[in-house]
């Protein structure tokens, strides 16, 4: 199999060969370069990667939140059997908000500061995914006939479900009067108001402090189970990915470099980049902490040839520079885009294990020791 094929039999969302580029003054930036991914029904899937690797752009392309131009989007996006790219705007809007919903990255900036929480939630409950509502119909349903009261009740109920303290008074508050954690809860409630099938969550909770973040993730896990949601989550935090997701895609430089079920990915990462990421997670064993991967994410205006990770890869050789590696299946539900696993190439090394990579990377503890000895020797 290839990873372009859906992992489940009947995925709710599948993306094939997605390309997103931007025309800019400095030239064409090729930000998402042939991404394949899928989310099965009831599956929680995470796309993980460093900041700037194209995760958010992928999400925005799926939800049509990029304006074209400057963005140029190609590829196939299928939601529950419907091809989204060719879907007329009107029908897409109907899916968006009712069957697909999203939680934005920053709870501080994703709520409108000039309206009360209640106004925003009630409008979403009544008119989310109903973009063909005209002015007259809006006025009628907003002000006449008691429908508004029902919508507000539903909003209060939803706030209660996200464990918001004192939901009635929150309804009357403006976002600036709420804490970050409360705003995050409001955003989750807003996303779930219309009972979507697919939830897309962008870096949820990363703007919050650690204890609140933990509460939010636990809450999210419960909500996913209660509402039978399929989730596409985007994060740079592997800890988050490990906590909630069934399967993980690792993204680097606008490409999916590895995918595997969560446990397998953490136990035996294959791609040198994934290994680097996993090795960088601080451990409580008292071992020295790995220093992280040298270098930074590639320039999109002039990306490295072949494998985009090769300038930072400790195992890079000639083949990596020449061709983009093919995706090599590993078992039935995992794959890796790296020539080290391709039998047709004669890699000069064996495929590295997590421990080899860990050993390759310097450790922060090492460094502090050298510094200490340097100071001592002075």
């Amino acid at each position: 199999m290839t990873l372009a094929e859906p992992i489940g039999d009947d995925p709710i969302l599948s993306v094939r060969d997605l390309h997103v580029g931007f025309d800019s003054f400095d030239g064409f930036a090729d930000v998402v370069d042939g991404v394949d991914l899928s989310v099965g029904r009831g599956e929680v899937v995470t796309v993980a990667g460093e900041t700037g690797c194209g995760k958010s752009v992928t999400m925005k392309a799926i939800l049509r939140l990029l304006s074209e131009p400057p963005a140029q989007i190609e590829g196939e996006i299928t939601f529950d059997g419907t091809e989204l790219r060719s879907l007329p705007k009107r029908e897409f809007d109907r899916l968006k908000g009712r069957r697909m919903s999203l939680i934005f990255q920053d709870p501080m900036s994703s709520l409108n500061p000039t309206f009360t929480v209640g106004e925003q939630l009630a409008d979403t409950a009544q008119f989310g995914g109903r973009s063909d509502t005209g002015v007259l119909e809006y006025v009628r349903r907003r002000y006449l006939g008691g429908e508004r009261a029902e919508a507000r009740e539903r909003a209060v109920e939803m706030l209660r479900e996200v464990q918001m303290p004192d939901p009635e008074s929150v309804m009357e508050s403006y976002p600036t009067q709420l804490s970050g954690g409360m705003r995050q809860r409001v955003l989750i409630a807003q996303a779930l108001l219309n009972d979507p099938d697919l939830l897309i969550a962008d870096e949820i909770g990363t703007a919050l402090d650690v204890t609140i973040h933990d509460q939010i993730m636990t809450l999210l896990e419960d909500l996913i189970a209660d509402h039978d949601l399929s989730v596409l989550m985007i994060t740079h935090n592997l800890g988050v990915a490990r906590q909630v997701s069934d399967r993980i895609y690792v993204m680097y430089g606008g490409r999916i470099v590895e995918t595997a079920p969560t446990a397998a990915l953490f136990d035996a990462p294959k791609h040198p980049y994934t290994q680097g990421l996993v090795a960088s997670i601080p451990r409580l064993t008292g071992d020295p902490m790995a220093e992280g991967i040298d270098g930074s994410v590639p320039e999109y205006l002039d990306p490295p040839s072949g494998c985009r990770f090769h300038p930072r890869c400790p195992y890079a050789h000639e083949a990596c520079r020449e061709h983009r590696p093919e995706t090599i299946p590993v078992g039935t539900d995992a794959g890796v885009e790296c020539v080290l696993y391709d039998d047709r190439h004669d890699a000069p090394y064996d495929a590295p294990t997590l421990e080899t990579t860990r050993a390759q990377m310097g450790t922060i503890a090492d460094q502090s020791q050298t510094t200490a000895s340097e100071l001592g020797g002075d």
Partner: protein, 341 residues
């Protein structure tokens, strides 16, 4: 501090600046050349007559006594007699103010009704053809003087096409009880629909000519603040929830972008009271600005004080209304005020 306390404080500040204004006008009037008594009597009067009238008018009293008298008059609403019309200045103002208020209110309506939507549309089509077209219109409307536009309107729509009357407020065949002085209101109250329509016909050209400069400003300021706001995360989120596009634009985006526009609208409204002068001249509009400028040219001191103070009061009260509205439009302003203390 509650927001209403803040508003009271602002209003108090406004009253203090009115006091300052009254002192400045008093000072200026004593410095300016020209003797009001001479102006009142005309060139033919003898020196003796002028001296006598000067004493009668209190011009020979010590300055502080004159000031006390002047302030007493201001506070009791007794503005004295106009040298030009020989009537009480308060009566004159009561007569001329409604005409100007009616004119500038309708002009402001045009400014709002055309300026804001055009700004929104320009922002949505940023750097597109529509945006460039509205930029051109705004540039034109700000740079061409209103009186010139007024004369052109008269020439084209009044004289050549004969669609609109050229001057005045109401055709002479209608007679209306001037209950409020606002002819739109008076004609409607009296049930004279024909006359009411006729008032609109008279209003249209001068109001449109007067609204031009403000319309350009409002259009540009709305455009730029809409562009700032429509890139915000919450706007993307609202679109992401599939809310109707017009709702996201005109309810959720515009309200956030409205603060600068509202501030400009307030300033425009107050300044039009005095700036309507040229339009009033062109359209023979019996308004306050025309009265005030005539008074200045004739050294009609009491009338000048009356008009200036009226405009000052208008500035202060409009600013107060704008402060109230700003607190309603953007709760952040209100909360900031309440948290800062």
């Amino acid at each position: 501090m509650k927001y209403w306390q803040y508003l009271v404080r602002r209003l108090t500040g406004g009253v203090v600046s009115l006091l300052g204004l009254s002192i400045i006008i008093f000072g200026v009037s004593r410095i300016l050349p020209g003797n009001p008594a001479r102006m009142a009597l005309g060139a033919m009067a003898s020196e003796k007559q002028v001296r006598e009238l000067s004493r009668e008018m209190g011009l020979t009293d010590p300055l502080w006594q004159q000031y006390v008298q002047y302030m007493q008059g201001l506070l009791t609403g007794d503005l004295g007699q106009s040298l030009e019309t020989k009537r009480e200045v308060a009566t004159d103002i009561a007569q001329y103010l409604p005409a100007t208020l009616e004119l500038i209110t309708v002009a402001m309506m045009f400014t709002v009704v055309f300026g804001i939507p055009l700004g929104v549309i320009a922002a949505q089509n940023k750097d597109g053809a529509v945006d460039h077209a509205t930029r051109l219109v705004a540039f034109f409307s700000v740079s061409v003087p209103g009186f010139f536009i007024g004369v052109m309107f008269q020439l084209i729509f009044g004289y050549l096409l004969e669609w609109f009357p050229i001057t005045g407020r109401l055709a002479s065949e209608y007679s209306v009880d001037r209950e409020t002085g606002f002819l739109l209101v008076d004609t409607l109250a009296a049930g004279q629909v024909d006359a009411h329509l006729n008032v609109w016909l008279h209003l249209l050209l001068p109001a449109l000519a007067l609204s031009m400069a403000g319309m350009g400003q409002v259009m540009r300021i709305t455009r730029s603040s809409m562009i700032d706001v429509q890139d915000q995360d919450y706007v993307a989120a609202e679109r992401g929830f599939g809310l109707p596009s017009w709702l996201v634009t005109y309810k959720y985006t515009l309200k956030n972008a409205f603060v600068p526009t509202l501030t400009i609208l307030g300033l425009l409204y107050a300044s039009l009271l005095g700036n309507a002068f040229l339009i009033e001249v062109v359209f023979s509009w019996p308004g306050l600005a025309l009265y005030g400028v005539t008074a200045v040219m004739n050294n009609d001191f009491n009338a000048v004080v009356g008009v200036t103070m009226t405009i000052g009061v208008a500035f202060v009260s409009i600013n107060f209304v704008i402060d109230v509205l700003l607190g309603r439009v953007d709760p952040r302003i209100r909360l900031q005020v309440e948290e800062a203390t």
